[in-house]
Amino acid sequence: MKQTKVMIVDDHPTVTEDVRSILETYDELNIVACLTNGEDALKHLEASLPDVVLLDLNMPGMGGLTATELILKRAPSTRVLILSMHDSPEYIATALNHGASGYILKDVPTDEIKIAIDAASKDEQYLCTGSQAALGKQGASPQSALTGRE
């Protein structure tokens, strides 16, 4: 079976470590790197060639939005999923505008991370429970927030 290669980028080491441990419970996932900022993610991008990058938004140095654009530019086949605390529609819409394939709030059950990774590796968009509701409240459909990359 082909494993999905996943890179985790978050400036909080406890979070990356825990996410790694959780995702490692799935045999079909291969965690290729755990990094703490956008610059490092770009540096390790070509070496590890992940299928999916789990990316935090707020990080010291290069933030998640810039990192998303640069990752997609350098590795067009890679899909980016945002893993964030921010549940405001602006963040979600902006992240999707920058090319993210999905948005997962950190406070939803971790099963959704796996679902999002599966969706992204099939080139589908995934918005977790809370983020869908947030976008709906604002009246913006996720599709309208997508970029020309679609």
Partner: protein, 372 residues
């Protein structure tokens, strides 16, 4: 023998014959001994009587030389006894009155003019005073307005900064820890489900994470508003600050305090509490001090908080200027309470003194705490 417009000298002999009358020459060489004025008052006889007895004044009606109209005249007459002459001269009262009136008019005109001048000068002076007062007031008002605006802006800025800081603390510290705990528990659930024996260990990690979160909440809450200040008062709260500072930095501290029994209201307590809080932050960051002495005592002026360190000091506004905003806020806060904050800093240390007036004065109870 004549003078002025109407004046003249006259001479009668004691028999009443006129000898000299330069203005009314028709009188000369005639006898006027029974002459009376229009009111029946004897003239010549009376003049002669006065002259015989030496000299004196006589007042009567006499035709004015210029007009011929009778007018009251005051005459001075003197007797020349060897010659039996009465020599005299007189002035018309109306002339005198006229002269006096003229003089009075002149004086009055002068006075009026002087009065007007004084009035004008006074008015100008008052106007100048008013105008300058007005401009000074306007300027002062503008300055005060500007200061008020600056203060408001700073308060708003500080508030914004503070909110930003709290938001950041909540988002960055608390929620990340909680996310960590949530993930850890999630992992524990998975491990329990799979019968993985690392599940217990994972649960322990989650519990550690939760107690970390509790500590963070406690820290943030204390930074925001020390509840201890309400519960235990200023002294113990400052003591705690000092203990924490010692634990954090290892810098030696000395603390001396008195008990202010209900003599400091909450605003004053908080204002005083913020002084060492701010000072410790600055000392920790910049001063490189070996010993910090904190004194809290009652003085005639109120409660005095002094923080003295033996660090390298700083210059206000200089390149090593310590958190100037914090100090200024602290200063304004204390001045609003009617107190004062003075900072002296040199190469061998810094001394910050904050004085806040008490509500009422009691004799302070002293207690000394020293930490070495």
């Amino acid at each position: 023998m004549i003078y002025g417009d109407e004046g003249f000298y006259f001479v009668y002999d004691y028999d009443g014959n006129n000898i000299v009358s330069p203005r009314q020459t028709y009188l000369i060489n005639q006898n006027w001994s029974v002459q009376v004025d229009p009111n029946g008052l004897p003239i010549t006889d009376e003049l002669i009587r006065i002259a015989r007895s030496g000299a004196g004044y006589h007042s009567y009606m006499w035709p004015k030389p210029s007009t011929g109209e009778p007018a009251e005249m005051v005459t001075y007459v003197t007797g020349m006894q060897n010659w039996r002459w009465a020599l005299g001269t007189g002035v018309f009262i109306d002339d005198v009155l006229l002269t006096v009136a003229n003089t009075r008019t002149q004086v009055e005109t002068c006075i009026a003019r002087t009065f007007v001048q004084i009035a004008i000068i006074t008015f100008l002076a008052l106007f100048l005073v008013f105008i300058s007062g007005y401009f000074i007031t306007v300027r002062e008002r503008r300055l005060a307005d500007a200061r008020q605006k600056a203060l408001t802006a700073r308060i708003v800025n500080t508030q914004e900064e503070e909110r930003g800081r709290v938001a950041h603390e909540l988002h960055d510290s608390i929620s990340q820890i909680l996310v960590g705990v949530s993930y850890t528990l999630d992992l524990a659930r998975r491990r329990i489900g799979k019968g993985d024996d690392r599940a217990g260990e994972t649960l322990d990690k989650g519990i550690d994470g939760l107690s970390g979160a509790i500590q963070e909440v406690r820290r943030i809450s204390r930074d925001l508003r020390p509840g201890m200040l309400n519960d235990l008062g200023l002294g113990p709260s400052v003591k705690t600050l000092i203990d924490e500072f010692f634990q954090r930095t290892g810098t030696q501290t000395q603390f001396e305090t008195v008990v202010f029994r209900n003599r400091l209201d909450n605003h004053r307590k908080i204002a005083l509490y913020c002084v060492p809080q701010e000072a410790f932050t600055n000392i920790e960051r910049h001063a490189n001090a070996n010993l910090v002495t904190v004194t809290l005592k009652g003085t005639r002026g109120g409660a005095l908080m002094e923080i003295i360190d033996d660090g390298q000091g700083f210059t206000m506004g200089g390149p090593r200027s310590i958190s100037g905003l914090g100090l200024r806020n602290m200063q304004e806060r204390i001045e609003q309470l009617g107190g004062s904050l003075t900072i002296t800093s040199g190469r061998h240390g810094t001394k910050i003194s904050a004085l806040v007036p008490l509500s009422h004065i009691l004799s302070p109870q002293s207690s000394v705490n020293t930490k070495k």
